[in-house]
């Protein structure tokens, strides 16, 4: 694969196109949009984790200043064409409760919407919502995963007679029972993935604009998935898909939490249509904590079987996962996105996995950055360290002994890893770290009984991303495909529009997609504009999640580029009066071999537009669309190393160094890739050390604001030392693998392994996340006593 390198080409850190507007306050976030006649929506949310809704009295709210309408769930119940979407019924016998945008008879979590008010201003809507009087009969709630499965537990959905949602098994390779029987050594570990709140900096927002005469509706939404939202909201609201336009304007971060179709989106559409008014809703942060889906929240049991030399032979995993109170778009499937990779980067013979989903009276869970794969990586990387402790082996040596080294490699869980070089990334990371020096310092501190002990923790991860081959999604019962679309439109004056069905919220599509097109078609980077996130401008798309924009969307773009070149070549051959075979192509220019006679793609675009002299049968204009369906997932991998200083007197764990070496395949823009990795690391470190959605026994969220949900600031984090190794994906036109989730997937276990490494001599072998000073201190005290 020949790629040219220049300032804005593939491999260059081209300056971001997005920045000029975002740096000058000209972003188009939903809250910045205003329409004539616009009204505001406010929701009334249940303060109870579980309560029967006996009566909703809207009279005072309706009489309040500026209020145009108010509705209970029951008022709206017959108006829905369908429930909110749940697109991944993972088993045939899954318990899938009905889910309407506003609850009708029972509220099932704190934050569940029970009524909605529409008024002239934001403040009046909020004031009126407070006047709605709901008569609740509080019912016993269940907020603990294991308590929910106990006999006699309160039922989140009584009609099922159980809180179990589904149980999903996966087996592969040799017989796992036999491998465990024959093992010299086994480890059995149990971990808790705490519940997390994604907290993109921009809370969600919705603005629905109706055209009452025709029934058309435009929904502006802070979403990662305008295309999927259009399909599913058409089904939920009854607005024909052909009349529904969904626009994701500038979106201020998502991290999976906006990979969702929310009650407020359906309500915005329904109320705008019903009232004939533009309806706006902007989520407040405390509302976001309750009403935007959460992530993680599972109990993990993982066992490894190994030889006494440290060769891991089998991995057995059992997950019990909180679904929360309802199934959102991919709630049941989210933990299964990790189902194939609990074996990690290791060459094992047998694999057994089982996941049970459980209803609890809490905010629903769903995808949060990495979705299933951070959990998998955490479990296997911690279990490998546990095995290293048991065998008294260096964790690096144990990992090397077990790495998959031959590619492509069909792993025991059944998928094929296309490429990789796990030792190369580990070698480079150890070199950057100066592993021996860190171990020396650790030994010195141990020897002198320093209060501040040093720990080094590893995570040699592999992830499965680039979601996803449509056929596999079909086998897994996911309702949609995993393809992606791209269009390149060469305009007559020489500039180019690129349409991508992926939709960014910080990932820099405007920049990287332009880099590739500029490179391949020989146009100036500044002359390429990338359009996205509007179903009327970009009709085809499957949106952005699972590190798929580069892995899938960019592949579609490359194919569209090939089509442009092919058509352009026909025009050039015709114009230059030679056979196509007589032309050579390089960087946007066709040249008749051995001559100086040329025609550029740009020139062919003008010729295609005026169409005065095209080859017979060739359609005017130069615009091509490609739809790409991947043949495999993509498989980024690498080594992350955390160095943590633990104060054994206070329990404070301070991350002092962090080294990340990732193999994400071909890199389009190194600066942007570094940024993705760094941001992901921060989120994963935050899970390890600070963040947790805490509920009390009654189901009240105790961490419902940024005062008590501890998102890290710059002051809590060190610089991150990032580097790369590269093996190209053989399945991608550019060899790229995707990078959006690597940091989050890799970092959490590296940090916890480092904390445990620091405390190893004290006998501490487990610490729950987040590893707060109190938890660390208690673990030390327990080990000492």
């Amino acid at each position: 694969m020949a790629v040219t390198e220049h300032e804005t080409g593939i491999g260059a850190s081209a300056p971001r196109k997005e920045d000029a507007r975002l740096l000058q306050g000209q972003g188009s976030y939903v809250d910045n949009l205003t329409l004539p006649g616009m009204h505001w929506m406010a929701l009334v949310r249940s303060p109870h984790a579980r309560a029967r809704i006996k009566n909703v009295d809207l009279s005072k709210a309706k009489a309040a200043e500026g209020v145009v309408a108010a509705f209970s769930g029951a008022d709206l119940e017959d108006g829905w064409a369908g429930p909110l979407p749940m697109a991944w019924p993972v088993t045939d016998d899954i318990n899938n409760p009905p889910h309407l945008p506003v609850a009708t008879t029972e509220a099932r979590y704190v934050g569940d919407a029970v009524a909605v008010v529409v008024a002239e201003t934001r403040a009046l809507a909020k004031d009126a919502a407070e006047l709605v009087e709901v008569d609740y009969e509080p019912l016993p709630a269940v907020v603990d995963i294991e308590a929910a499965l106990a006999d006699g537990a309160p039922l989140v959905h009584e009609e099922f007679g159980t809180n179990r949602c589904y149980t999903w098994p996966l087996k592969g390779g040799e017989d796992v029972d036999e491998l465990f029987k024959g093992a010299d050594v086994t480890v059995e570990e149990r971990y808790r993935q705490q519940r997390l709140i994604p907290n993109p900096m921009e809370p969600r927002g919705v603005l629905a604009q109706p055209v009452t005469a025709t029934g058309e509706i435009t929904l502006y939404s802070s979403t990662q998935i305008p295309h999927i939202a259009r399909v599913t909201l058409a089904l939920a609201t009854g607005v024909p898909e052909s009349k529904l336009r969904v626009v994701a304007p500038d979106v201020g971060g998502g991290f999976g939490s906006k990979l969702q179709v929310y009650p407020e989106e359906a309500l915005g559409i329904a109320l705008a249509a019903k009232l004939g008014l533009p309806v706006k809703w902007i989520e407040e942060r405390s509302e976001n904590a309750l009403a935007t889906h959460h992530g993680r929240d599972m109990i993990q049991e993982i066992s490894l079987a190994a030889t006494k030399e440290g060769k891991i032979t089998a991995v057995r995993v059992r997950l019990t996962v909180s679904m929360g109170a309802y199934l959102m778009i991919i709630t049941p499937g989210t933990p299964l996105l990790g189902a194939w990779v609990y074996g990690g980067a290791y060459d094992i013979k047998g694999y057994e996995f089982e996941c049970s989903g459980v209803f609890t009276n809490q905010t629903p869970t769903d995808a949060y950055r990495g979705a299933g794969r951070p959990e998998a990586t955490y479990a296997i990387e911690r279990a490998v360290d546990a095995l290293a402790r048991k065998l008294e082996m260096d964790p690096v040596e144990l990992r090397r002994k077990n790495f998959i080294t031959e590619f492509p490699n069909t792993i025991a869980s059944g998928l094929e890893i296309d490429s990789g070089d796990y030792n190369a990334a580990l070698d480079r990371a150890l070199e950057i770290l100066d592993y021996d020096a860190v171990r020396r310092e650790q030994a010195e501190r141990r020897e002198r009984g320093d209060a501040k002990q040093l720990g080094v923790g590893f995570s040699t991860y592999v992830e499965m991303c680039g979601l996803a081959p449509s056929r596999i999604l079909g086998v897994l019962k996911y309702a949609a495909g995993g393809w992606e679309a791209a269009t390149i439109r060469c305009l007559p004056t020489g500039t180019v529009q690129v349409l991508t069905g992926t939709t960014p919220h910080g990932q820099s599509h405007d920049t990287t997609f332009a880099q590739v097109v500029a490179d391949r078609l020989g146009v100036d980077y500044d002359d390429v504009e990338v359009l996205h996130g509007d179903t009327s401008i970009v009709p085809l798309g499957m949106d952005t999640y699972g590190s798929r924009s580069l892995a899938i969307g960019m592949a579609a773009l490359c194919n569209a580029s090939d089509k442009i070149v092919a058509k352009s070549k026909k025009i050039a051959a015709h114009s230059l009066e030679v056979a196509e075979d007589d032309l050579e192509y390089d960087g946007g220019t066709f040249r008749v071999r051995g001559t100086d006679r040329t025609m550029t793609v740009k020139e062919s675009a003008f010729a295609a537009w005026h169409a005065h002299d095209l080859p017979d049968g060739l359609e005017p204009t130069l615009e091509e669309t490609a739809v790409y369906d991947p043949s495999n997932f993509s498989w980024p991998a690498g080594t992350h190393i955390a160095v943590v200083e633990v104060d054994t007197e206070t329990g404070a764990a301070d991350l002092v160094r962090y080294v990340a070496v990732d193999d994400v395949g071909t890199v389009i823009n190194p600066q942007i890739v570094d940024g993705q990795v760094q941001g992901g690391i921060a989120q994963g470190v935050a899970q390890a050390l600070w963040e947790e959605a805490v509920y009390d026994d009654s189901g009240n969220l105790l961490t419902g604001s940024l005062v008590n949900y501890l998102m890290p600031s710059a002051a809590e984090l060190p610089d991150f030392e990032v580097d790369r190794t590269t093996t190209e994906s053989p399945n991608h036109p550019l060899g790229a693998k995707g990078v959006g989730e690597t940091g989050t997937i890799a970092s959490t276990p590296a940090v916890i392994n480092a904390v445990l490494d620091a405390l190893g001599p004290l006998g501490v072998t487990d610490i729950a996340m987040p590893a707060t000073p109190e938890r660390v201190w208690r673990a030390i005290e327990e080990a000492r006593s």
Partner: protein, 152 residues
Amino acid sequence: MREIAITVNGDRRELEVEPRELLVYVLRERLGLTGTNVACDTTSCGACTVLLDGESVKSCTLLAVQADGREVTTIEGLAENGHLHPVQQAFHEQHGLQCGYCTPGMVMAAVSLLGENANPSESEIREALEGNLCRCTGYVNIVKAVRHAAAV
């Protein structure tokens, strides 16, 4: 209602505001300066940071009436004659922003910091920006950008 006069980005603006109106909503909804974002209800995140008489304040925590007679600078007022402010330019060059939502507040906080300390160390930058949260960058390139701007 109260009559107030605020000089915003150099222009004197006279307004009638409710005593309960927060400065950020006056900027965003009355003056159309939507560059300043709102991201929390608890003065925790700093997305709404603006300069009040040259010093950073969180405009979600200031009543508009408290800005009466004072000078406010928002992100829209930073570039001059079509040239980005050195801090904006540094954020661009160092990739100090991804989704951009925290960026206006982060840039204003950085401008305020460099006004007080022209050459801050990495740890001084990290401490100074403690009140501004970013979920995208892990802060690495934000810190780089501020150091870069300080060097200009």
